[in-house]
């Protein structure tokens, strides 16, 4: 049993080294694509929570706004740490991606789009009341839209 575990660990380390040698940050292209899709899904859930408050379907809750904004900021930081936008993730082996080549051919534009997003998320996290939350929300939506228009392909 111990031997098996040791072998598995050795194999995993070996795979990790091979992965790193191939220029991948922390996993195969498929794994990274899946990770960034999970990041986007987390963002979508956070957006839904805020939109629901915006529309009055759920009552405004300052803590929930902060939690949603934190979830978006955390998901993005985690993605960056994992290297989910690594150039090797332009196409997956088996996982499909809607990431457009412009992400890598226009890296400065892509970075700027993320900065717009970061600023908008930080601003909404800092809103103290419902009125300021409502005023800050369109900038978050516009940041999502601005990036998706340019850097995400049609389904």
């Amino acid at each position: 049993m111990k031997k098996t575990i040791a072998a598995a660990v050795a194999l995993a380390i070996g795979a990790g080294i091979i992965g790193a040698g191939a220029g991948l940050a922390a996993g195969t292209a498929d794994e990274l694509i899946t990770a960034r899709q999970a990041e986007m899904k987390a963002n979508m859930a956070a957006m839904k929570a805020m939109v629901s408050m915006l529309k009055g379907e759920t009552p405004y809750d300052a803590a929930a706004v902060k939690a949603a904004a934190k979830s978006m900021a955390d998901a993005q930081a985690e993605g960056v740490a994992k290297g989910v936008w690594d150039a090797a993730t332009q196409t997956g082996a088996t996982v499909k991606t809607g990431a457009k080549p412009e992400i890598w051919s226009n890296a400065a534009g892509f970075d700027a789009a993320w900065k717009t997003f970061d600023t908008a998320v930080a601003a909404i996290a800092a809103t103290p009341d419902e009125a300021s939350f409502k005023a800050a929300f369109p900038a978050v939506g516009a940041a999502c839209k601005g990036c998706h228009e340019t850097f995400r392909a049609a389904e």
Binding site: K55, G98, C144, H148, E155
Partner: protein, 302 residues
Amino acid sequence: MRRRARALATISVLAVAGLALAWGMSTPHPLTAAELPAHTPDVANGKLLFNAAGCLSCHKPDAALAGSDASLPSGGSPFKTPLGTFYPPNLTPDPATGIGSWTDLDFVNAVQRGISPEGQNLIPAFPYTSYARMKTSDVLDIKAYLDSLPPVVSAEKQAEIPLPWLIRRGVGLWKHIGFDTAQWTPDDKQTADWNLGAYIANGAGHCNECHTPRNALMVFDWNRQFAGGPHPGGEGKVPSLRDLVGRGKYSDAADLASALQNGEMMGYEHLSSGGMGEVQTNLSKLPGNYVQALADYIASLK
């Protein structure tokens, strides 16, 4: 020998006749001035339809050109298609580089017949196939609105497509099978709201151009109207607009109207990619009852 000569002569005659037929069939037939309605232009309605038609999305200035006003349709931004790259022309009233010297008839022939003032067939990357369904008076209103804009000097760039002359002639042939010039007619069994939505969607809004699939000859497959299909830009897919509520994409027509009005600003994340983001930006500029009518019509598609 004589038989051979006769065969050769027959072949030549047939070839010439074939070419003449192709020439005749590919020759554009513009409208005449007598076919234009008498109309007093309404600039405000023209602006509304300019937004409904999304003119600016294609005729925007090239983003790479510094100092150009992105709110004016001065043209030049690259429009990529599988056929090649087009540079939609300047729609501002500059007489030399824009449409300042165009007559009403020139404009209607371009927008509703796909024929340039020089008498050439336009390539239907410009969706005159949908604009033909508009009321000609509405098209004249768009021209009045364009004429009211400040003129911008922006020379037309030639499209980067193979054999443009042959393609334009080919478009003339294609028009016989792929281009219906009949204007849209309201359905008396439906409400005024539904008819307004249908008119905008099928005419100025040119939704069919991307959302209705085409056959191998690039002719709309009306049996599958709005059923979605490959993206005309060559990558990805365009979603079906049928039964959006039944399929759970939107909770009801009001939800769809909110999506068209707000797009991703209200978290409707499917309305940004593939060019729909610009469409949604344009639609958000329409009066609320137009957006609602459009949503009611689209939500009614089964």
